[in-house]
């Protein structure tokens, strides 16, 4: 049974410390598994405390720094963390293969160094596999639906086409997983998410996961975001612009991905011909006396060119393409968040309309409409902040990526030039 909706703390600039925790006053039995079916209570407030980790209803510390930092988000103009102020460092490395009776899989070492109070120890080192990352991402999406969650590298790999255990594949994945965690670490809200905390620290993540699963099965539908099929009246211009931007952005990235793949393909075909070309000079050199030296020289050169070209193509495949694809996935998940935002706004508008239609003589707007309004404002604010951060990071990421691409090409030509100079 749903408890009477308590006035939710407004997402306005009031400090949350002033608010009574909505669930703190209810008895533990009443709360049961902590989360009632009422969708209102589950709605995002960009405050991490709604998702209680302990099923017996023990309240979570309300003075969650997440809430204050999300306040800070809105107040601060620049919320990029400087390296000096960073207090959390996470790295993914050391992939290892595990062979079990049921399956074979890879785990990665996740190392954490921190001075944050939320962590009991200053250092952690745990082993995680892709499944665990996937779980984390789902949890973040659930618990922070107003935020942009970074993408994971693709889950499914066509067996037979790609070798899941090849060095290149594992290394590419490792880099992407490392990026994933670093992006979360850099996020002022997400980095304080408790699932993230558990992910970084728990010795036995599976046990924790099971708890969450139990909760999930009891909550059923109510956990999922209500997409009530409300129609949106008017999308605020800035979000429409973001939507359009993301559409075009994805398109262009897709085109660049195709171009890059085509270039790699052409390079490989070029390589095939080069591999035949070099030896012919050698054969000729065998026929000649005086000319054999320069001929052998050219042949060796072409061989070096082949090696350098191979390296270039490999680098592009391993470093360039995955980042592009990551951003395409990112854009997709961002568009989903935008859709959710639209839904929240639509719901609010619908409710507002319903109230207006009733023409009841109420001195103030009913609380559930107020809640909706809060939700909308919250969502919008979070999204805007995240978008700005995303834009900035994206700029830096692409700057680095494209410079890297240019660099690799420069290196290729340098290698060939040096080889040629020896003739």
């Amino acid at each position: 049974a749903a408890s009477a909706p308590k006035p939710l703390p407004s997402s306005g600039p009031k400090s949350l410390r002033e608010m009574p925790h909505p669930l703190a006053t209810s008895s533990s039995e009443e709360m049961g598994p902590a989360l009632t079916p009422s969708p209102d209570l589950l709605l995002p407030r960009s405050i991490a405390d709604k998702d209680l980790s302990l099923p017996n209803g023990t309240p979570v510390d309300t003075s969650s720094p997440a809430s204050s930092s999300s306040l800070l988000n809105r107040l601060q103009l620049d919320d990029d963390f400087d390296v000096e102020t960073r207090d959390l460092f996470v790295t993914v490395d050391d992939p290892k293969k595990h062979v079990c009776t049921m399956e074979t899989y890879i785990t990665y070492r996740v190392t954490t160094k921190t001075t944050r109070a939320e962590f009991d120890l200053p250092e952690y080192s745990v082993r995680r596999r892709y499944q665990d990352f996937d779980w984390l991402r789902n949890k973040l999406e659930e618990s922070q639906p107003t935020h942009l969650i970074p993408p994971l590298p693709e889950k499914f790999v066509v067996k037979g086409v790609v070798d899941r255990f090849s060095e290149e594949f594992v290394e590419t994945r490792r880099k992407a997983l490392d990026k994933f965690l670093k992006r979360i670490t850099d996020h002022p809200v997400l980095s304080f998410n408790e699932h993230f905390n558990v992910f970084l620290t728990a010795k036995d993540l599976n046990a924790y996961k099971k708890q969450g699963m139990a909760l999930l099965s009891k909550m059923g539908e109510s956990v999922k975001y209500v997409t009530g099929g409300y129609k949106l009246r008017s999308r605020p211009l800035e979000f429409a612009a973001i939507g359009d931007y993301l559409d075009t952005f994805s398109l262009k990235l897709g085109t660049i991905d195709r171009i890059a793949q085509r270039i790699i393909k052409e390079q490989l075909e070029y390589l095939v011909e080069l591999r035949e070309y070099g030896p012919v000079y050698s054969t000729w050199g065998g026929l000649e006396v005086e000319l054999s030296e320069p001929l052998e020289g050219v042949s060796a050169c072409i061989g070096n060119c082949c090696t350098a070209l191979e390296e270039l193509s490999e680098d592009m495949t391993e470093d360039f393409l995955p980042v592009l694809r990551e951003y395409i996935l990112y854009a997709e998940s961002m568009k989903n968040v935008l859709k959710k935002r639209d839904q929240v706004q639509a719901e609010y508008e619908a409710k507002l309309e319903a109230v207006a239609l009733k023409r009841e003589d109420r001195p103030k707007v009913p609380t559930d409409v107020e809640k909706c309004q809060d939700r909308v404002e919250c969502f919008n604010a979070d999204l805007k902040a995240d978008m700005e951060r995303w834009q900035n990071n994206k700029r830096q990421d692409f700057r680095q990526l494209l410079m890297g691409m240019a660099d690799k090409n420069i290196q290729y030509y340098e290698k060939v030039r040096v080889a040629l100079a020896s003739i």
């Binding site: 931007y245 075009t248 952005f249 262009k252 085109t255 660049i256 171009i259 085509r262 270039i263 052409e266 390079q267 075909e269 070029y270 095939v272 011909e273 080069l274 035949e276 070309y277 012919v280 000079y281 054969t283 000729w284 026929l287 000649e288 005086e290 000319l291 320069p294 001929l295 020289g297 050219v298 050169c301 700029r395 692409f398 700057r399 494209l402 410079m403 240019a406 660099d407 090409n409 420069i410 290729y412 030509y413 340098e414 060939v416 030039r417 040629l420 100079a421 003739i423």
Partner: protein
């Protein structure tokens, strides 16, 4: 490589001449096949036409006319310009003389030279025919250069440059064809040479020529393989460069939706366009390299031809010797009455009756005459053969030096070309990187 005289731009053979002279002065020539001692060879080269005269094939023009079968045809005529080189810089230039020739006349000239100087490795003509279109401007241009090169090669050859027909080819427009035909060289041409792969069983082949023929076969094979693969490599490289042009377009489109990143992307895209366009020039330069290799592909054919002629000569010699031997034997048998070898004549005479002594005497006399003739012929053939080997080998040595020099230069300039391509690539990508850094 500097030429000391004002030479036309395409004066490669002259330059090569100079280096050859230097090489010869430095080398100790121990050449038992040489026609001339080094100093004399030097003098011969000084005398060669190329030193005295500037020769260019400067233009190509489409013509229409009626051919021998009175059918209208279009063909290309090439303008040959010549000008005497003033040895002292008088400041005045001699007048330019010119005439038009078509490809078939060049062919006629070359055939004449091949037949008249069988011991010389005669410079090759550019390709006879492209599968597509003889009127294609690129093809015509490359042919023009090839024809000019041919003339310069002939003009710098110590022996060939002195030929009157060659001189007339350059100077005398009218009546040249008749002049060539009057030499009757076609009669001298051995039709057997046309059967390229026909084998003549030579009992005592000259090892040097056999090796040389083998070498020319291998050279032809390896160069044509090289040219084929090079063409494929060039195609692929073209593809790589051109696809980069697509980056230009998409970066431009992307920059339109970006704020801070926009400028950097846009200008980087421009550099990608430059990169994609640069391949056209690169490949054109490479075509020049390919043409240099092609010349030697055809030269290998000319080398092979000399070996074949020698083979034929040797064959003829052996046949003549064999014929002489058998005649002598016949004579002996008739004289002594003993039959050593089986002969149909012998058998028939046995079957149908013996000859009269008078008949026998007559036969012996005829044979003796024939034997004498044969011996003289054999002597002269032997002499011819020895002369041929001597002069052929001299020219072959000259050719070898020329080939080594030319190809070495070609390989080096190919490497230089590739280095320049790398530098361009580095430049473009560095520019792009700078644009990216400003994003």
């Amino acid at each position: 490589m500097e030429s000391t005289e004002p030479e036309p731009s395409d004066s490669r053979p002259e330059e090569e001449e100079e280096e050859e002279e230097e090489e010869e002065e430095e080398e100790e020539e121990e050449d038992d096949g040489a026609l001339l001692a080094p100093k004399q060879r030097l003098a011969a080269m000084e005398d060669c036409l190329a030193k005295k005269m500037e020769i260019t094939v400067s233009e190509a023009e489409k013509r229409t006319g009626r051919n021998a079968m009175n059918i209208q045809e279009t063909y290309t005529a090439y303008l040959i310009e010549t000008r005497a080189v003033e040895s002292q810089s008088e400041g005045q230039c001699a007048p330019v003389e010119s005439l038009w020739r078509r490809y078939s006349e060049f062919e006629l000239l070359r055939n004449y030279l091949s037949v008249t100087y069988p011991h010389i490795v005669v410079p090759p003509l550019p390709e006879k025919r492209l599968s597509a279109d003889n009127m294609d401007p690129d093809f015509v241009e490359r042919r023009r250069i090839g024809l000019e090169n041919f003339l310069l090669r002939v003009a710098s050859h110590p022996v060939l440059c002195q030929d009157k027909i060659f001189y007339a080819f350059l100077m005398q427009e009218g009546g040249w064809k008749e002049m060539v035909n009057e030499t009757g060289f076609q009669l001298k041409a051995d039709s057997r040479l046309k059967a390229l792969n026909a084998t003549f069983r030579v009992k005592n082949p000259d090892k040097r020529f056999t090796e040389l023929k083998h070498y020319s076969d291998e050279l032809q094979s390896v160069i044509s393989h090289l040219l084929r693969v090079r063409a494929r490599v060039a195609d692929r490289l073209y593809g790589v460069y051109k696809v980069h042009g697509n980056y230009g377009r998409v970066f431009s489109e992307w920059s339109a939706i970006e704020k801070e990143m926009g400028d950097g992307l846009q200008s980087a895209g421009h550099h990608m366009d430059v990169y994609a366009a640069s391949i056209d020039d690169i490949l054109e330069e490479e075509e020049h390299y390919a043409d240099q290799l092609k010349e030697y592909l055809f030269y290998a054919e000319a080398l092979r031809a000399v070996c074949r002629k020698h083979e034929l000569m040797q064959y003829d010699l052996e046949m003549a010797a064999q014929d002489l031997t058998s005649k002598k034997q016949q004579c002996e048998e008739l004289a002594t009455g003993t039959v050593r070898t089986f002969s149909l004549k012998g058998m028939t005479s046995k079957l149908f009756g013996q000859e009269t002594p008078e008949q026998r005497e007559a036969k012996i006399k005829v044979l003796e005459e024939q034997i004498q003739e044969g011996e003289e012929q054999l002597k002269s053939k032997n002499l011819e053969g020895r002369d041929f080997v001597k002069s052929a080998w001299a020219d072959i040595e000259r050719f070898k030096e020329q080939k080594n020099h030319d190809l070495k230069e070609a390989l080096i300039s190919y490497a230089v070309m590739q280095i320049s391509m790398c530098k361009k690539g580095i430049q473009v990508w560095t520019n792009a990187k700078e644009c990216f850094s400003k994003m």
